[in-house]
Symmetry: C2
Subunit: 290 residues, 2 copies
């Protein structure tokens, strides 16, 4: 009976939950929809139900609970999330089980998992960039996750790549996320998901190709700026968009090489952990809470 923790990655549309061993092995795995539109209390209750179901007696004995949530967060409190509308929810509220509980920020938790289990493990300076509904980065500088003055560094989704460009909900113009987030790519083509857009790109659809090229260009500009500022060893793209694989990496590497004569562009890869990096990161939070 392996020791494990309960981990739940609370995403905007889907919750991924499971039991995870110390070595990062997923012993049990389940996905549930996040009742995002139904108010903060419903989301908290849905997470608690999920955690408690995972805590039910079985083949494994969980020792702690780790959760990855969006917004502003400390290990003890979910301070604020615009996506869920919650404010100052104590970690305790997310389970009825008598286990230690710790919260982590979704992107930084996923970055911690990349650092613990992915190829980022052996790199010194890494940008982990999950691209999904939004875009945010986890910065590994000199081998450690970097938070900055507020602890919330890495807001790459709102850097102004086109200062005279589209207006953003944040009040600014031309933010990276408007061009390159998976949801923006899907919306620009009238599709449900960026995966549908990739399918159309592969089929040679001109509208999809234009939207895709615009997304790649915006990402390349942002990563050029990031590289000039911070000279990372490795950039790992995660989240839903990473599933595009070479359809993303090929043109992105080519634009980065064109935009960055010196220094040489860093290596750019898609995440080996994929969309489960958040779950593994939540588990790391759990192990630390023990």
């Amino acid at each position: 009976m392996a020791e494990c923790v309960i981990a739940v990655d609370v995403g905007g549309t889907t919750m991924k939950g499971g039991l995870v061993s110390r070595s990062g092995r997923v012993l049990r795995y389940e996905r549930r929809p996040t009742p995002r539109g139904e108010g903060a209390e419903r989301v908290v209750a849905a997470v608690a139900d999920f955690v408690d179901d995972l805590a039910a007696p079985g083949a494994h004995t969980p020792l702690a609970v780790g959760l990855a949530v969006p917004g502003l967060v400390t290990p003890e409190r979910a301070v604020f999330s615009a996506a869920f509308g919650w404010r100052d929810v104590p970690a305790r509220a997310f389970t009825r089980a008598d286990l230690p509980v710790a919260l982590g920020h979704d992107v930084r938790a996923a970055g911690a998992a990349e650092l613990a289990y992915g190829p980022a493990r052996t790199a010194e300076h890494v940008l982990y960039l999950p691209v999904g509904t939004g875009i945010a980065g986890a910065l590994v500088l000199s081998g450690s996750l970097y938070g900055g003055a507020s602890g919330w560094a890495g807001q790459i989704g709102h850097i102004p790549v086109h200062p005279d460009g589209l207006p953003c909900g944040c009040g600014q113009r031309g933010c990276l996320g408007l061009y390159a987030s998976a949801s923006a790519i899907a919306a620009a083509c009238g599709e449900k998901s960026a995966a549908d857009v990739v399918t159309r790109v592969r089929a040679g659809d001109p509208e999809a190709e234009r939207v895709w090229a615009r997304a790649v260009e915006a990402l390349a500009l942002a990563l050029t700026t990031y590289t000039l500022l911070l000279h990372p060893t490795l950039i790992v793209i995660g989240g839903g968009l990473s599933l595009a694989g070479e359809d993303l990496l090929g043109p992105l590497r080519s634009r980065l090489t064109a935009l960055l004569p010196l220094p040489e562009p860093p290596e750019v890869e898609v995440s080996a952990l994929g969309v489960d990096a958040g779950l593994l990161g939540a588990a790391l939070q759990g192990w630390r809470a023990r």
Copy 2:
């Protein structure tokens, strides 16, 4: 007779040299023109003459030599400088005196001086941004100078603030330095120095006001991006442009506040060490070489 080191900051147009105590007191100070147009060997010889004159017997006994130079540099070698056209010059070549010699990168040396003697001393995450002929930054992250994979992080002067903007000598478009370096500001107004442009701004000259506003906007966009990525505690602007004081800081702070609703903009100050930060940084290199 105080202990001291010989320090020379080798700038593109002027060399600043002196004898500097351990506490950063400048015991002797002299400026000489840099014979930049006359070839790499002439520049090396001029630095060596300067160092040796400072080493001549006097009221103080220097213990080592520290030099701040542009380009790619290690403590032992000036690897490459486009400005001076030199390649792989050993530190020894810069003096005939029998003293330990160490080289430092001009911007990072100045940043180290800000960290040792300026208000950056007590701040955790600092961007030191000298704006002169070019623009480069020294990044203090979690209290330490950060170099990235190559050691040469901080190339802020070439981040693309206007991707469809002016062509730059680096082969790209819309680099920050094209709009906001002191030399670009002067050139855009047909003046010799940015100080002349500031004088015209104060007099209400519309052309100068337009160029100044464009420079401030480009700096504000770059610092918005920097802040979203790295959440610094403090931004210190140095170099020639810092002499504009409130004429720079006033509009820059106001644009940053408009561009950065969250997080709150970091403090922005001009360097208290001013254009001598490089000299003090060169001295720190000397103390370390002892």
